[in-house]
């Protein structure tokens, strides 16, 4: 069995590794050869031993059974011998008893003391006690029966002569003078009988013989106890070996257990033979043997079956092993804890680790760090009994990583995972390259803004890139496969498009391309330019035409829009009443003039010197900068902004000039002159009107002021009176201290001064009724105004915060008027805070320089604020939100401020309430303005 030998060889090596059945794996040939012969012998031994063992076992068992049976037979034989001897002895004792009885009778007969009756009595009694006896007889010497008992016998009748057979025994008894047994015979009634002859002698006289006739049958039946006859068949066998009597013939006999013994007396060749009944059948006795043989055969048969099976199995496993070893994929068995149990040679080929060193090392040791988490997750799934399939990177012996796709099946019963891993590194790299390539191509296709469209030689669209799809508003699916007329051809243009397509297919498309309308899906039309080039495939054959398509709608639209814008621009400029011109800043050449300018200065001004034609225009010295020295980097810049009078016509113009960069990059000055003659006249009129109004208001305010101041005077006057009268009283009573009275007098004097100041304020106020502008320190004006408002503020529990910037330059203004404005605004603020919570009633008065030559004063309250609809009308005369107001205050205030070349306006206070602000020129700037006016 050479195959078995090979298989066995592998079995002992791999059994430690492969836990199931009796696995047989074949190692590579090189490893198997040296041990092959030895292993073959061992396998043969393995297979012989069970066979031999089975045979030896069977033989041993058979011998054992035989020995046991022999022993048992021996025991039985001993028992039978003993029993038979015992039975023979019993019979002998009985027969000897009968012998003695007859000998006694013979003696009595010889002595003549025995008569017939006595004979009969004794003989019958004896027969009754010994059922084996049939007859007791006295045979006379003449061989004739004289007496016979029992008396009813028919066999032995008086006068019967002995038969010859009987005579032998009769005479032998006469000769030897002792009892003699005759040969057994069968009497006429068919009964086997045995006769005992006892000679009767009286002296020398022979008087016949006493004969006892035994029934042999009865001997066998009655001289042994019943237990004997149950165990054995007892037979009397005659001298010639014929069976004379048996006690039973019913049961089967075990001839092997029999015993014969000579019966003595009569010692005439009679044998007593006992044969044991068969206690168990023949088959049960043979059963162990049969079973042993049967089982042995069965075992041998099963061994043979097993061997056949093994051989088949070995064959299969050998094939599997070849597959295992020759597999290009890694095959391995993992323990439930993730360590390798076994790996095939592909493991070494792919990863470089010797497969034999792998057992016991965990899979995770080889997995790329980034894949460990995923791998652990997969192992966990395996642990739950789920087969898994996944990809990961595994480190090779040389440190590189390889992509493996694993397919692992768990066998939970064995706590093992069977893993197959396929190297997909190459595939991965290819995939990656392919993906990069396709991504690059897609990116390129999608980033190209030029539409690309290919048609085959029959004019069918075979390709359209995303840009083209976007252009026509159709998807690539809708386009590819379309045949002329294409869906993006506008209906009205189909003949022209068809014509262009025919030219293209004929290869006569112009290199400048076609300009065609394209219909978008939404219905709008695009202008597009198609450039055509032949489409050549890899084999150099032309397969169609490629068109690159550019959307030229936008450029066209821009061009049109520019033209329109230009026209609008000209229309606007020409429509202006103001005269507009543009002149080169250096050489003063007029580059542009609008219609109004030309109407004033002639329609041929363009190209002439601006200075020569324009009237009025600023002197060179009046420009902020000399326009001739301007560099392109300095512009745009305002050059001049003022009102000028044309000395010839007497018209006033608002002239504004600005340096800017012309379309060709050179510096130009652009001038706009607007006729403001009418506006100036109106302004003048309204100014005079307001001045009149203001004078009226001043009188009204003065009246109020006087009343307030009079009230204010009460305070110091009452105090003075009190002090004075107190002093008088004390001095009258004479009970006073001088220092007390002195202090009171001083206090009275202070109050008198206070009263004096109030009166002076009234006087100043009244006296300065005509506006007189001088340099006024603003902080003093503020203090005065606050002094007047103090009473009102106190009454309304308003705190006044004063926030005047230090070193404020004096303003050029009429002191009283500005004071009045301030007072008015402060009072307004105080009134506005009537409903404000006490702690918020704060009025802030501040002043600061906002830019050179201009001071800004603000009055901020935290009151109810001004509603939007009121804000517009705030400064109109007779508008008021106060119940008792005249509605003149703010209007007058604005007039005063504007009279001072300032501005008055309101803003909402970020903290709530309203801020009034006005500006005033500082002294120097104001003087100049006044002069110029």
């Amino acid at each position: 069995m050479p195959q078995d030998a090979r298989g066995g060889d592998n079995a002992d090596q791999s059994s430690a590794l492969i836990p199931f059945a009796n696995p047989v794996f074949i190692w590579p040939e090189a490893m198997a050869k040296p041990t092959a012969a030895r292993a073959q012998a061992r396998t043969e031994l393995y297979w012989t031993v069970p066979y031999v063992a089975v045979v030896v076992f069977a033989v041993a068992m058979l011998v054992l059974v035989w020995v046991l049976q022999r022993q048992e037979t021996e025991i039985q034989r001993n028992a039978i011998a003993r029993d038979v001897q015992w039975a023979e002895q019993t019979m002998r004792l009985h027969m000897q008893g009968t012998e003695e009885f007859l000998t006694q009778m013979a003696r009595d007969l010889a002595a003549g003391s025995l008569d017939l009756d006595n004979f009969q009595l004794r003989a019958n009694q004896h027969i009754a006690n010994n059922p084996q006896l049939i007859n007791l007889v006295w045979v006379e010497p003449g061989e004739v029966v004289r007496w016979s008992a029992p008396f009813d016998t028919t066999d032995w009748l008086a006068g019967d002569v002995l038969t010859s057979t009987q005579t032998v025994a009769f005479f032998r008894a006469r000769e030897i003078g002792r009892p003699a047994y005759g040969d057994p015979y069968v009497n006429p009634r068919g009964e086997a009988v045995l006769e005992l002859y006892i000679p009767v002698r009286h002296g020398r006289r022979f008087m016949g013989s006493m004969v006892a006739v035994y029934s042999i049958d009865q001997i066998v039946r009655h001289l042994v106890p019943s237990w004997f006859s149950e165990k054995y068949r007892l037979a009397l066998i005659g001298p010639r070996g014929d069976t004379l009597a048996v006690n039973s013939s019913v049961q089967a006999l075990d001839e092997s257990v029999a015993y014969a013994i000579a019966l003595d007396p009569p010692a005439n060749g009679l044998m007593l033979r006992a044969t044991a009944f068969r206690t168990v059948g023949a088959i049960p006795r043979a059963l162990p043997t049969i079973m042993i043989i049967g089982l042995s055969v069965l075992m041998l048969w099963s061994l043979w079956l097993l061997r056949t099976h093994m051989r088949r199995r070995v064959h299969v496993e050998k094939e599997r092993d070849r597959l295992f070893n020759l597999s290009l994929d890694i095959l391995s068995i993992l323990s439930a804890d993730g360590t390798f149990r076994r790996c095939n040679p592909a493991f070494e080929r792919l990863l470089g680790y010797p497969a034999v060193q792998m057992p016991g090392r965990p899979l995770l040791d080889f997995v790329h760090d980034d894949d460990i988490v995923a791998t652990i997750e997969q192992l966990r799934l395996l642990g739950n009994g789920q087969p898994v399939s996944f990809e990961n990177r595994v480190r090779c012996a040389d440190g590189r990583y390889k992509w493996l796709v694993w397919s692992i099946n768990p066998v939970l019963d064995e706590k093992l995972f069977y893993a197959v891993a396929h190297d997909i590194t190459g595939r991965k790299a290819t995939e990656e390259a392919l993906r990069a390539e396709s991504a690059f191509r897609r990116a390129m296709e999608e980033s190209v803004v030029t539409g690309l469209r290919a048609i085959d030689l029959s004019g069918r669209i075979i390709y359209a890139n995303p840009a083209f799809c976007r252009m026509v508003g159709l998807t690539a699916d809708e386009l590819v496969g379309a045949t002329p007329p294409f869906p993006y051809w506008p209906e009205e243009d189909i003949p022209r498009c068809q014509h262009n397509l025919e030219i293209t297919l004929a290869g006569q498309a112009p290199s400048s391309g076609f300009e065609m309308k394209v219909l978008r899906k939404s219905g709008e039309r695009l202008d597009a330019r198609f450039y055509l080039s032949p489409l050549i495939d890899g084999s150099g054959k032309q397969t169609g035409w490629m068109a690159s398509v550019t959307d030229i709608t936008e450029p066209k639209r821009v061009r049109a829009a520019l033209e329109a814008a230009h026209k609008r621009f000209e229309a606007v400029l020409d429509g202006l009443d103001s005269a507009v011109f543009v002149a080169d800043a250096r050489n003063d050449e007029i580059l542009y003039a609008n219609r109004a300018f030309m109407a004033l200065h002639g329609f041929d001004v363009v190209g002439r010197r601006a200075r020569a034609v324009t009237q009025p225009q600023p002197e060179l010295g009046d420009y902020r900068v000399d326009p001739r020295k301007l560099q392109p980097a300095d512009v745009p810049m305002e050059l001049f902004d003022d009102e000028l009078r044309n000395p010839l016509s007497g018209h006033w113009y608002h002239v504004r000039e600005q340096a800017t960069r012309w379309v060709d990059g050179r510096v130009v000055r652009m001038g706009i002159a607007t006729d403001i003659t009418d506006r100036r006249q109106m302004e003048e009129m309204s100014r005079q009107q307001e001045e009149r109004l203001q004078r009226t208001a001043r009188l009204v305010t003065m009246g109020e002021m006087a009343s307030t101041l009079a009230h204010e005077l009460n305070q110091p006057l009452a105090a003075i009176s009190n002090y004075a009268m107190g002093c008088v009283k004390r001095m009258e009573s004479g009970d006073y201290r001088q220092d007390e009275v002195l202090a009171a007098m001083q206090k009275a004097s202070f109050q008198a001064e206070r009263a004096g100041k109030i009166i002076r304020r009234i006087r100043d106020f009244v006296r300065k009724s005509e506006p007189r502008r001088t340099a006024v320190p603003l902080d003093e004006v503020v203090d005065d105004a606050l002094g007047f408002a103090e009473i009102d503020a106190r009454k309304a529990a308003v705190r006044v915060r004063r926030d005047i910037a230090p070193k404020l330059p004096p303003v050029y203004a009429d002191r009283i008027m500005i004071e009045q404005v301030l007072l008015n605004l402060v009072k307004n603020g105080i009134d506005a805070m009537g409903d404000t919570p006490d702690d918020c009633r704060v009025l802030t008065l501040s002043a600061r320089v906002v830019r050179e030559g201009l001071v800004e004063v603000s009055v901020a309250d935290r009151g109810h604020g001004i509603r939007d609809e009121d804000a517009e009308r705030l400064f109109t005369p007779f508008f008021t939100t106060k119940a008792e107001g005249m509605g003149m205050g703010l209007n007058i205030c604005r007039s005063i401020i504007e009279f001072h070349d300032g501005r008055l306006w309101t803003e909402a206070n970020p903290e709530g309430g309203t801020v009034f602000r006005f500006t005033l020129p500082v002294e120097i700037a104001g003087e100049r303005n006044a002069r110029s006016a």
């Binding site: 009230h711 009460n714 305070q715 110091p716 006057l717 009452a718 105090a719 003075i720 009176s721 009190n722 002090y723 009268m725 107190g726 002093c727 009283k729 004390r730 009573s733 006073y736 009171a744 206090k747 009275a748 202070f750 109050q751 206070r754 106190r794 009454k795 529990a797 006490d838």
Partner: protein
Amino acid sequence: MNGTPEAPEQIIYIVDDDEALRDSLVWLLESNRYRVAQFASAEAFLEAYHADMAGCIVLDVRMPGMSGLELYECLRERHATLPVVFITGHGDVPMAVSVLKKGAVDFIEKPFSDRDMLKLIEQCLATERESRSRVRQDAVVARRLDLLTQREMEVLELIIAGRLNKQIADDLGISIKTVEVHRARVMEKMEANSLAELVQSVMTCEAARGRFVD
């Protein structure tokens, strides 16, 4: 100038925000031997106020924060009986009327003469003194009335109603003798020497008057 010996000393409380006026007023009044306390605002006075204050208040009508009128209202709510002299700027007639209607006050307009001021203050102090003594007497009578039993009270009521002893006996269904005993006990408890004195003391008492008039 001083009050009755057992009465607390009267003080003039000046409440005015104008320091000069307040100081000068203090000077004037002290020169006239009055005791003066000064407060710069109505709030300061309210904080210092207690029911045992005696004297009068000189109060400026217009003050930042709580005005003089508001302070007056406040004091009335606290049942203060101190008389008040208001100092006002130029005559605010409607205001003066409304305040005068409310009770024991006077007005003086700035600038005022010292004579007017002193006269007003003296009047006020006298009024206050009188009302305080009346209150004290009322308390005595009320205390005595509390000593009377129910029956004695009934008898007293009938006496004040002007009934004779006989009539009283009939009204109450008791004997004249008994009425006489009650009457004597009433006289004794009320510490009255005569019938007239009894009736007067009971009728002047604010607390008792309400009980007996109807």
